[in-house]
């Protein structure tokens, strides 16, 4: 399978703290890669860097042939249209209704008429179990619904890749299962995914490969089957909750 994302020798520090000490990995088209590691290991920073929301101190990030780390804000727009980011808290626009939140990227990047937008949004809301909430504001939705709406908004431009930042954090089992099913559904349609999570059962259920970030580097990257059966440090110890 073709590489769609490539990260090479990614290094980033915050003040005196060196968080990433040369992270390298690649993601292939159509696969779902799980990125796991303890809190403070810089998983979200790494994910944000894939679309230029953060820039490394050194190292390279490629989306297909484009070197994201060399692009300017204006040039990054094309990458961000193709690589969607589902934020941990949804990051919904609280001054806009559910409909307006979903219409926002369509208005910015497509020439769809209002009718076409309505049709697309209604269909998407149906798929995400959010029908009938078009006129509500995000504050009126439950945490699970907000996450699903955030995911729906990330998907509305039909991207090649979705970056999931802790999509199931803080959710009840019902909403966790819903999100898990959605990720699997997207994967079945060929959408590439990178999943940052602490939720090992979800990672095992939806990912093809798992990368473990530990002490600023990728400590292990392998298939779910291998990772699951591994007794090596830090894989088994992280999975069993012995280490952060």
């Amino acid at each position: 399978m073709r590489e769609i994302i490539r990260v090479r020798d990614f290094r980033k520090s915050f003040g005196d703290k060196e968080v990433h000490r040369g992270v390298s990995f690649e993601v292939h088209e159509g696969e779902c890669l799980g990125l796991i590691g303890g809190s403070g290991q810089g998983k979200s920073v790494l994910l944000r860097s894939l679309i230029g929301l953060e820039m490394p101190d050194s190292g390279e990030v490629f989306y297909r042939d484009l070197e994201v780390t060399r692009l300017r804000e204006r040039e990054l727009i094309e990458v961000r249209k193709r690589v969607a980011y589902a934020f941990q808290g949804g990051a919904l626009f609280d001054s806009m209704t559910v409909f307006e939140n979903l219409a926002y990227p369509l208005r910015a990047h497509t020439k769809l008429t209002l009718e076409q937008m309505k049709e697309k949004i209604t269909r998407l809301l149906g798929e995400f179990g959010l029908s009938g909430n078009e006129e509500l504001y995000p504050v009126n939705l439950s945490g699970g619904m907000q996450k699903r709406l955030g995911l729906a908004r990330a998907l509305i431009l039909e991207p090649d890749i979705i970056l999931y930042d802790e999509p199931t954090a803080g959710l009840d089992p019902f909403n966790t299962r819903k999100i898990q099913e959605m990720i699997l559904h997207l994967k079945s349609k060929g959408t590439t995914g990178i999943l940052v999570t602490h939720d090992m059962p979800v990672a095992f259920a939806v990912c093809d490969r798992i990368a473990i970030l530990s002490e600023g580097k990728i400590a292990k990257i392998d298939s779910v089957k291998t990772i699951r059966g591994s007794t090596e440090h830090p894989v088994s110890r992280f999975a069993s909750g012995e280490v952060r």
């Binding site: 961000r80 249209k81 990227p105 910015a108």
Partner: protein, 252 residues
Amino acid sequence: MIQRYLIDLIYFFGGLALLFRSFVSELIRNKVERRLLMDQLYHLGATSFPLIFITALSTGMVMTLQFGIGLAKFGGQPYVPKIVSLSILREMGPVFTSLMIAARAGAGMASEIGSMVVTQQVDAMRALGTSPMSKIVVPRVLAMLIGLPLLAALANIIGVFGSMVVAVTELRLDPDFFLLKVATTIVLDDLFSGIGKTIFFAIFISITSCYYGLNVKEGTKEVGIATTKAVVTSSIFVLVGDFVLTKLFFIL
């Protein structure tokens, strides 16, 4: 200590200059979203008007009362319309309106943008391939550039009206005499000098408030700090800027 303070100051003014440059370049390059601009104009104009009304009315009334009582000793009450209208048009109207707007709209801008940063809404705009500059900064700065001069012009009218009310009821001046004195005193230069300054004040207030809002990093606690800083700094800019601009306008 002083070195650190100076470095921070250079960063701050550099940040303001960069934000202003980005605003201008965004304004030139991209079409302004009318819906966002109208929203901001409504928030600025309609919701600030009662505050401006009370401020301008009481300023005109108090000034008239003070000058009236003071000048009565020298038989100078007939000069009250001239002095008060000139003061309002050249200074009090534009400056008080700007200070009120800095406190109300500037605080609103900094806290709203700061909250958007904390809740990752600004990141979401970027992640969705849109520019926070065109969605957040441009409509707010532009609304301020349009709204503040208009509010200052209204404040001038209301201030002079308040002055006339006190002049007629307390100083026993004839309303026709009052209006005649105002009309023969004020020239276009007075009007433009006052309103012209508000264009600069609009930039000071909106750019400073947007800057503080966008630079919130440490969570909700910093939103409050950014809001206070936005109000204090833009008020200082208005007051110091007023002196500099007045001097400049006199030279020109």
